[in-house]
Symmetry: C2
Subunit: 263 residues, 2 copies
């Protein structure tokens, strides 16, 4: 089984390396890492059209069997380039992560981690995206081990059950001990609301500038439901959300067909 | 009616200016333009987190009534910043475009034009994205006039019918004369397939690099259906697709709930 591993935190991030080490424990896995050469968070589904890409070979974990490339592009670029040029054959599965920080609710639209997995399913390859949900107290160093081992088990589970080629699993694992985790919740995407999105500041020359900031508004509001990823991770569950890429609002098609567009 | 106009081709692109001029013909419209200071195509839903944004005032069309800002960020940044800081009050509608080139099928995931409109509906504001479908012969200078006038009529139509706040209309208008256009087709998103996505080249120092290229595979294949945006523009129709931002694959939720995740 050929697995392509990528992320948006960059190829030298701890999360992808911990996940790579865990997956190597499965002898049936032939693992390749193709990931950005530096952090590319919040790049959404950007692709690089106006400058060329380069792929530098990289080595990891003192494991000479493992092949990897650092690419000067976005997570989506990495998946495209890996599948088209760098890997000896098409992978059976693409995994993106482990991201440092949750990718839940509407925030998945901005997520490079999830976009890499969406790129895979556009190309017809099943995929998973995995993120570590950090606690509010960010002074604790994140511990990717439990999430990495969960992904190793999930990989075996997926091999058994199969995944449709046009769907990815978006997985968010709380950074907690096994004892504190409630279990696995299969969820739909919830909403994430922010307020005071920007801070307006004045530079040393007296001109305005704006920093994206934003406080998360408590999004476990009742109207958003208990079956969302946002609600699941708040209750210390591992959230698993099936994601597809057809944005069509089918419910509105019929209504729009009634309109006279004047043409 | 307050309308925010943005794009991804940059604030000084012809498409946004032609659309702005057309919308100003409606006396009920109070128009603001907030758009990137240079072309930001294929940025997907990227947002700028790691550097500050600046907004410079801009003037257009020799019309001193019109207010505009050029922002050194992505289309999504522009919408966020406009709504939070730059506009005197929340707009009633966001329009993104007119993009130079189609935004149809799976390509909408990469589109800065469509992402700006998605940002608007995330913030609860109805939106439209509009793109000009260019002919294969790119030597002809694109003519935005018909598309701009169509948007003016559609704006009035939308005022009358209303749009749900969580849906945008993705509109693609062929760059053809009124006579050649078949009419309006309400469509779902189709698929776009590419082959030979990258060209591999060798730089003057003997090292490999890769350019994103890609030939579009004829995507009017029967299995993809006649009711898609891809099929509609091929037949010289104006395509109108309702788009939402919930990527959950609801059909798979139940099946995934049966899996034993070992936790």
């Amino acid at each position: 089984m050929i697995v392509l591993l990528t992320n948006d935190d960059g190829i030298y991030a701890e999360g992808i390396q911990m996940l790579g080490e865990a997956l190597l424990q499965d002898e049936e896995v032939e693992l390749y890492i193709v990931a950005p050469d530096h952090e590319r968070s919040a790049t959404g589904h950007a692709i690089t059209m106006h400058r060329p890409l380069r792929a530098e070979e990289a080595r990891f974990f003192h494991n000479t069997e493992l092949k990897g490339w650092a690419v000067n592009g976005t997570p989506s670029d990495c998946v495209k380039l890996a599948i088209e040029y760098l890997l000896p054959q098409k992978p059976d599965l693409v995994i993106s992560g482990i991201n440092r920080g949750a990718n839940i609710g509407t925030d998945v639209l901005y997520s490079g981690t999830v976009s890499a997995a969406i790129e895979a399913i556009i190309l017809g390859i099943p995929a998973m995206a995995v993120s570590l949900v950090l606690p509010f107290d960010e002074s604790k160093h994140p511990d990717f081990r439990f999430a990495a081992n969960f992904m190793l088990r999930t990989l075996r589970c997926i091999c058994e059950h199969g995944l449709p080629p046009d769907t990815l699993l978006n997985i968010n694992v709380p950074d907690k001990s096994r004892r504190e985790i409630g279990g696995v919740a299969v969820t739909r995407l919830g909403l994430r609301h922010y307020r005071n999105t920007f801070q307006k500041r004045i530079d040393p020359r007296g001109k305005n500038y704006y920093w994206l900031a934003g406080e998360l508004v408590d999004s476990s509001r009742e109207e958003d439901g208990e079956d969302t990823d946002v609600a699941a991770v708040k209750k210390s569950y591992i959230s698993v959300t099936p994601i597809q890429f057809d944005l069509t609002n089918y419910q509105l098609l019929e209504e729009l067909q009634k309109i006279d567009w004047g043409i």
